[in-house]
Symmetry: C3
Subunit: 264 residues, 3 copies
């Protein structure tokens, strides 16, 4: 399998993307390049980890995920490759790969130290070009990952915060806003229903109230915010044909709390 | 032929695109994915229909157009596939496919009901992943579209408004503004010339006057607005090396009128 | 080799990109399309030339670069194809190809005049579709470039301005700001070190001072601007995990001066 899926914060204007795609095709002309996203907020490891986690499992077995959000480029953080049950993940060891790799099941972690697989000159500012892209290309071409460097025991981890119950309140959080303005929370439908037992509830987000859980958008009235299970299997706060992000005046996704009270 | 062309309002940041591309490649590893646009204004069916209509005919015979702008996802609107003279169109039956499919010549409309071609779990918010992407992948792999569900007689239609003549005035409309700020109208050069007979005219758009029809940009003076036949075979309002959208202070493309008077 | 790399100012919303990709695949179904960037500022030839120059050399030998930033479309400027030592460049003869082609070594310049390789109808506004895309497709398919039109002697040239020494001052310039807000200058590290001889210096940019040259981002203190050799082998002005563009209140990249004084 030759698919290399790319996820970065490089944006879609500069030379960065053309460069890494050129580097890959030079090593493996058969590689099939698929862009997941290059519009991750600059240096936002958590956002990239979340989007990788929401998309990786739909790709063909053997896909190599080249994931570069790398504020520490050139410093002590290690470049790594991870072999999981079904995939390969390549990127900096700063947590960006951790959630997805753990979900798929980590089988092997390699510290990328064999310079034979790098470009000849290694800059201190663009390891995506000099290290990560060539490594991904070599893996997609069938290189044995054990040849890329020594095995490593652990990786840097980041975790999505879990929702917490305190008495009759469920404390959840908005962790991402998508392009349609849907506010994605950290709670699953199951966690929510285990808490409310399917009875009435009242959720408060930035002083506004949400009272309904719907199964599809068309059930809602105009201008009525509601909870709905989104495509990531997490509850999202949405409005019908409207941006919940605008409705709730959300600017930055930074620990926005939702407090849900149940009426038993 | 293995080309699948993608047109959506999913944007280029979230996990949506990676997911549907992964789903397609899992079913048809040979698929050739081509992005038309993912920056359609959210839920703007008319805009997507216009861009599909302006691009489909340049693609190779047999191309599958996966077109998803789907504000009614999860509600009553039907998922459909259309076989036309040269192409396949897959998407929701809300009008988004209608202009392009009718121009190419509709041969068969199928209501997508055979769940054997869907993903196993069907969400209520992301049919692009669960239904449309797998269907497009199967068609590109050679699946008989008659196997995808029962035939259907008609589709939802939307139409671009035609220009209207009233005495010595031609009433036209701006229907789209492109990235360069060109304002694309709903009139062809032929309709315009049939009306003006090649003589002097005066067009009024938002209280500003346009007096020239040019053949190429370089004919114009600086800061002079003019009409020109654009690449969609429609007349566009342009300025040389400048945005007509800015010049005319156009914000939203929403039924902006152009009144053209002829001097016979 | 079948790689066609695309660089334009067409943006990612309109029908333009879908159209030219469709045109290419119709002529060469085996073409491998790689997007370098479509977000060049409208009509900004210099910016496109810079990004092409920063990325072309990483692509596989034989890659065809379809580069269209073409404010003079439909006027006297010529459509050309250039064969260089390792690559092919196709686009308008307005300087956009010149820096990259000269760096790789120009072997042949062809004026595209053989209409047999164009689309049948040539518009005056969209030569990317009608001329450049079909030509790129035919070259990638193996067409002899001598068959595309007569040889030509020269091309329009643009050049990046070189830094200048005047007494104890080195006058450099910011020529590009990337997505991370790094300000890319026109001086190489070697030019800088030849001037400062590795001793203390003081650079002034918009009344703010830069005193350090670092090897990687993590060496810097918070909120401390510094010089660093970037991935284009030019010195860049950066801050650690922060946008230098914002820090220095840079809006447009238009001849922004940096004055560097040396203390010998």
């Amino acid at each position: 399998m030759n698919v290399i899926a790319l996820l970065t914060d490089f944006g879609l204007k500069d030379h960065f993307l053309g460069v890494i795609k050129g580097v890959i095709l030079r090593i493996n002309p058969q590689a099939k390049l698929v862009d997941i996203s290059h519009n991750i907020l600059p240096h936002n490891i958590r956002e990239a980890a979340f989007i990788l986690c929401g998309s990786f499992s739909y790709f063909p077995k053997g896909t190599v995920f080249l994931t570069v959000v790398d504020p520490g480029v050139g410093s002590a953080r290690h470049p790594i490759a991870i072999k999981t049950k079904n995939y390969y993940f390549v990127g900096p060891d700063n947590g960006v790969l951790s959630i997805a790799a753990q979900r798929d099941g980590i089988e092997k972690i390699i510290a990328l130290e064999n310079r034979r697989y790098f470009l000849k000159n290694i800059s201190s500012t663009f390891h995506a070009r000099d290290i990560f892209a060539p490594i991904a290309a070599h893996i997609s071409k069938g290189a044995d990952i054990l040849s890329l460097g020594p095995s490593s025991r652990g990786i840097e981890e980041i975790n999505l915060p879990p929702p917490k119950i305190s008495g009759n309140t469920l404390n959840a959080e908005v962790i991402y806003a998508d392009k349609f303005g849907n506010l994605i929370t950290n709670m699953t439908k199951k966690q929510f229903l285990d808490f409310t037992k399917g009875k009435d509830f009242s959720a408060i987000l930035k002083n506004k109230r949400i009272k309904k859980l719907y199964s599809f958008y068309a059930q809602a009235k105009d201008n009525e915010p509601f909870l709905i299970e989104g495509s990531l299997s997490l509850l999202e706060i949405s409005l019908k044909n409207k941006s919940a992000k605008d409705y709730f005046f959300v600017k930055n996704i930074n620990a926005i709390k939702i407090n849900i009270k149940r009426f038993l």
